[in-house]
């Protein structure tokens, strides 16, 4: 067959495998054929039959499962909410257990303790710096006599063998 024959086939609506194969390999015929039929390109590209990877039976089974699932959902939505009295109490007991466990857990974990508005004062009080931050002698012993209040009198003694005897 010549190119003109294939173009004639397209014009006549013949969609056989031989024509499609030719059109795939011949740009001139494809260009001419597209002028006659704009969908020709997509049909030619289609190639062979498409099969699902798991096979037709598996695909059908999956589709049917989805259909059954949707039907079940519709039935549940349509059904009246009948929760038994015993079931309510079971749910309540589970909730109480859950709340109790959570409260216990929260009490054991200091990280999540809420900070009360009065906390800053306590924070400041616990953030005192040491009075003697450094002392230039490795042999010294520094003793801080704790003040009774923050505004009180604080005594810090440094005992250092390297100090002169006639201080």
């Amino acid at each position: 067959m010549k190119c003109a024959d294939f173009i004639e086939n397209v014009r006549a609506g013949v969609d056989d495998a031989q024509t499609r194969d030719h059109l795939r390999g011949c740009e001139a015929c494809m260009a001419a054929g597209l002028e006659l039929d704009s969908d020709l390109l997509f049909r030619v590209l289609g190639g062979g039959e498409i099969l699902p990877p798991e096979g037709v039976d598996a695909f059908t089974h999956g589709v049917m499962q989805q259909i059954h699932l949707r039907e079940s959902e519709r039935e549940l939505k349509a059904a009246p909410k009948r929760i038994l009295f015993a079931l309510r109490w079971s749910a309540a007991a589970a909730l109480v257990l859950g709340v109790g466990s959570f409260a216990l857990w929260q009490g054991m974990d200091p990280v999540v303790q809420p900070v009360s508005p009065s906390a800053p004062a306590a924070i400041v009080a616990s953030m005192d710096r040491p009075t003697i931050e450094s002392y230039d002698s490795a042999d010294a012993t520094i003793v801080e006599l704790a003040a009774e209040t923050t505004s009180d009198f604080l005594i810090v003694m440094v005992f250092d063998e390297s100090l002169p005897a006639d201080l």
Binding site: A92, L95, V96, G98, V99, F102, A103, Q106, V111, V112, P114, V115, P117, A119, P120, I123, V124, M127, D128, R129, P130, T131, I132, E133, S134, Y135, D136, S137, L145, A147, T150, S151, D152, F153, L154, I155, V156, M157, V158, F159, D160, E161, L163, P164, A165, D166, L167
Partner: protein
């Protein structure tokens, strides 16, 4: 039945309240400092930061970005507001006192009674004599040099005021003895002191707890107007 449901209702809402506390979210806030260095400010506020929080420094804009629970962010803002200010002026009252053990102790001067009563209970000193006293003042960051009666010299640098502990750092505090006939200073001690404002600190130095003599440096700092 209604009573049971009411109790259940209360428990449920109580649990919701507990959960809200536990899941307290953190927030972020940036602080651009005008007078102080952001990296130093980060050190100042670090003790305030909770386990949930973090501090990052943007040196190019001298900014701190603090992430923490809202209560702490408020406290950080308050402390940084106090810290980020022009250098403050402080006055330092310094007394030099000799503490010793004597067979016939002299009466204790009135302004040394507190130190004598506190120290006498711990060590065996019973005589207290004031060697010298003076008041000096300066701005944060300035060096101070003072000659005290009795041939002593104190040198230190007024460090930064820490608003969190309300203390002023006396950096490189050196006490030396000035030779009467010239010559080199005899350095007695070198230390860095955090002086809480409004608190009198008596820093005593002696060779050992059994010594019969100690030199006491009594310091008190106040912020000047």
């Amino acid at each position: 039945m209604k009573k049971s449901l009411a109790i259940l209702f209360l428990i449920t809402f109580g649990a919701a309240g507990l959960y809200a506390d536990a899941a307290e979210s953190v927030a972020a806030r940036s602080f651009q400092l005008q007078f102080r260095d952001a990296s130093r400010a980060a050190v100042v506020i670090k003790p305030l930061i909770t386990d949930k929080g973090s501090v990052s420094i943007q040196p190019s804009s001298n900014t701190l970005v603090v992430t923490d629970i809202p209560e702490r962010l408020g406290e950080v803002a308050r402390i940084l507001g106090e810290y980020d200010a022009p250098a403050k002026t402080f006055s330092i009252d310094l007394k030099l006192v000799s503490a010793s053990t004597s067979q016939n102790p002299q009466p204790v001067p009135p302004d040394l009674k507190e130190i004598s009563s506190k120290l006498g209970g711990v060590l065996r000193f019973n005589q207290f004599e004031k060697i010298g006293e003076l008041v000096t003042s300066g701005r944060e960051g300035t060096p101070v040099l003072i000659d005290i009666d009795g041939g002593y010299r104190a040198e230190f640098r007024l460090g930064e005021f820490d608003p969190l502990s309300r203390s002023l750092r006396l950096e490189d505090f050196k006490l030396s003895r000035v030779p009467q006939r010239g010559g080199e200073l005899q350095q007695l001690l070198k230390t860095s002191i955090n002086l809480r404002l409004g608190q009198t600190v008596a820093l005593g130095a002696s060779r050992d707890p059994g010594s019969t003599r100690a030199l006491m440096i009594v310091l008190r700092g106040e912020q000047s107007e």
